[in-house]
Symmetry: C2
């Protein structure tokens, strides 16, 4: 049974779009005084692959758009796509980062990529209407003028679908299913700082503990 | 958006068999100094229905064994079974308990029965092998002699299936899906006292908070 016995702490955070994953991870890393990676992965992957940063950003956390046809088209090898190059480089990068020391990593299937490390894997979610409300409130005035709740809902569903497709294309796990994570938090009941506190308590609680510790 | 503004705290705990739900709930209620209900529901339901306690216990948290045939057999009303009488009485009881004041309620679809109250709904789970290990370690020596891990796994799967069928028969939600709860905790990483601390932190974090509190 995996327990956190040493001082290295690796936290991965999967998240529904708008549930506050980026911000929770950033605040958690700041409180713990450890490294934080989200868009930093994109910049580094751009450097390593040689693709320009906008191209990497556009293809970050996406699965290739393969049709069923391409799998059964008689090719006897799987041709890796630019998507794959980006994802594989990001995966290598995530392993490098984790080997360096404590960190918080957002998304990018880091929980699966680091499945042989002792990570704490978190998933943040919230009901759609609450996430829409948050994202609408975060818009700059000039963006808000052109945005409706219906349009925001569409963006939200698209982003979540993209993340799910990416995660399930590159891993053996189900995105957002509680079994894939150690802790799943509905952030609409706790706010972002509340979620940070809950994760901190989880980290403390999990030091050297298992189901036989205090049964 | 539901927030906990008043002093009444109602915690419901759904749980996989062997993940420590009963014990976590009991310790949490003791720490918070509030009422605790699990088997207490069975005793009370026996009194109210007039069924004997062993019969209620045997049918507690079970769905009726209806075949597809019975739904399409030409009957124009749904005949309630003894199962239903027990479940409906327990549901009434759960509503009475919640109206009285703060409490922790284990299982019995309390989260769904109390969906119009402001509850905090928790789900506890753990990998099968860890739950087997815990349940084996909890056996009395004379029971342990007659039990194998394979037999324990069979019991465990049966219990979880029963709880799932019960929950999904009587509610509109999916048992153990993170969306049905506010917080899902893998107890094999935290032990039972760790899970208690995490739930306590959640309760504190959720007081008057929502996704717009501190975005």
């Amino acid at each position: 049974m995996a327990t956190i016995m040493d001082n290295k702490i690796i936290i991965t955070i999967g998240r529904e779009y708008g549930s506050g994953g980026h911000e929770v991870g950033k605040r958690l890393a700041a409180k713990l005084g450890i490294a934080f990676y989200d868009d930093e992965l994109i910049q580094e992957a751009a450097k390593r692959t040689g693709y320009n940063i906008d191209y990497v950003k556009a293809n970050d956390e996406k699965a290739p758009e393969v049709s069923i046809g391409s799998y059964f088209s008689g090719l006897d090898i799987y041709h890796s796509t630019p998507y794959d190059n980006i994802q594989f480089e990001e995966a290598r990068l995530i392993r490098d980062i984790a080997s360096r020391g404590s960190c918080v990593i957002i998304g990018h299937a880091a929980d699966f990529i680091l499945k042989d490390e002792t990570c704490i894997n978190i998933f943040l979610f919230a009901p759609m209407k609450d996430r829409i409300e948050r994202k609408m409130a975060l818009l700059a005035p000039e963006e808000a003028a052109d945005m409706t709740e219906a349009a925001m809902e569409k963006i939200m569903k698209q982003k979540d679908k993209q993340r799910r497709r990416f995660y399930e294309f590159y891993t053996d796990n189900k995105w957002g299913a509680k079994e894939s994570y150690d802790l799943s938090i509905n952030t609409s009941r706790t706010g972002l700082d509340g979620a940070v506190s809950i994760i901190e308590t989880y980290i403390e609680a999990s030091k050297g503990k298992d189901l036989l510790s205090d049964m």
